[in-house]
């Protein structure tokens, strides 16, 4: 082996050895800090998603109201028909309640179904946000 090659190998070995012994210390609480930042970013992500959902719902309500107003102004006939249908529906609901109210067995059955439906709805919503 030539002297040049030997010199080069010696230098490389020395460099490798010295650099391998060097390390950059990280702060002791660095891992906790990173995990805290990750949790915070996840919370912010969830919060941002909720805000977007709420904004969408609000936009939907406003658009629906505007559509209804425009419909009432532009097409009064259709709006009147809708109002009439709503009145008929409220009369039908009232009539159905009176019929059910006079039969307590049916009333209990409907109440049980209603409570079950509410419970199921709440349960699904809570599970969704968990």
């Amino acid at each position: 082996m030539s002297a040049d090659k030997q010199n080069a190998n010696c230098f490389d070995a020395g460099l490798k050895c010295a650099l391998k012994s060097h390390s950059e210390p990280a702060p002791l609480d660095f891992t906790e800090k990173v995990l805290r930042q990750i949790r915070q970013s996840q919370e912010q992500k969830i919060l941002a998603r909720v805000v977007v959902q709420e904004r969408l719902a609000l936009t939907g309500c406003i658009i629906l109201a505007i559509v209804f107003i425009v419909l009432t102004v532009a097409l009064p006939g259709v709006a009147a028909g809708l109002t009439l249908q709503a009145e008929t529906l409220s009369y039908k609901i009232d009539h159905a309640l009176q019929t059910v109210g006079s039969r307590w067995q049916l009333c209990i059955t409907f109440m049980a179904a209603f409570v079950f439906a509410v419970y199921y709805l709440v349960d699904s919503l809570v599970a969704d946000t968990r």
Binding site: F11, D12, G14, S23, A26, T31, V34
Partner: protein, 191 residues
């Protein structure tokens, strides 16, 4: 051996699923390497901490897409290097290819040490010499000599060609030989 491989695959799956305990292990295992990358890029301690945090946050977001094409360490070095370079650019500093100041030889000693017996002081002198190198050369040197990465991996991390990495290493080595002539003794032929 197979059991160890199986455990590693399981750990990787946990990492990909976003498990915090597995990720804490991952941070503990690689944080010194990420800090080394940041410091090699010339960042101060507090800047290095910020960039290291950003690196691990980015890694957490991207780990689900990691398919094991590259070694996990190489993959993380790639992210850390990008984060470091971006930080430098944002702050109006650019990774240089020339020395800001004329390099000064480091250290002076009487005996030539053997490779196995480098004192803490000599290690510091070598590190000081590496820090005098232009940023890109220093990164290539650390990756090649300390991390023992292949030219292909270094090119991948530094997003450059293998021939460019070879050039960085060749020039860095030459400059280090001059800077460390005293540390490695007069028997090293400096040309």
């Amino acid at each position: 051996m197979a059991d160890k491989q199986h455990q590693k695959v399981g750990w990787l799956e946990l990492l990909r699923s976003g498990d915090h305990t597995a990720f804490a292990e991952f941070v503990d295992k690689y944080k010194s390497q990420v800090f080394l990358c940041c410091r090699t890029l010339g960042l101060a301690e507090d800047q290095a901490e910020d960039v290291a945090s950003d690196t691990f946050l980015a890694a957490y977001k991207m780990i689900a897409k990691y398919r094991g094409q590259a070694d996990l360490g190489t993959w993380l070095w790639t992210i850390a290097y990008r984060q470091g370079i971006n930080y430098l650019r944002k702050n109006g500093r650019f990774p240089e290819l020339i020395c800001e100041q004329s390099p000064t030889p480091v250290g002076r000693q009487e005996d030539t040490p053997t490779a196995a017996a480098y004192s803490k002081e000599q290690q510091e002198l070598v590190w000081a010499a590496v820090k005098q190198l232009p940023t890109l050369w220093a990164t290539a040197v650390i990756l090649h000599y300390r991390q023992e990465k292949s030219l292909k991996d270094i090119a991948l991390i530094m997003k450059t060609k293998q021939n460019t990495v070879k050039t960085y290493l060749f020039r860095a080595r030459k400059m280090l030989q001059q800077l460390l002539a005293d540390v490695f003794g007069e028997d090293i032929d400096v040309r």
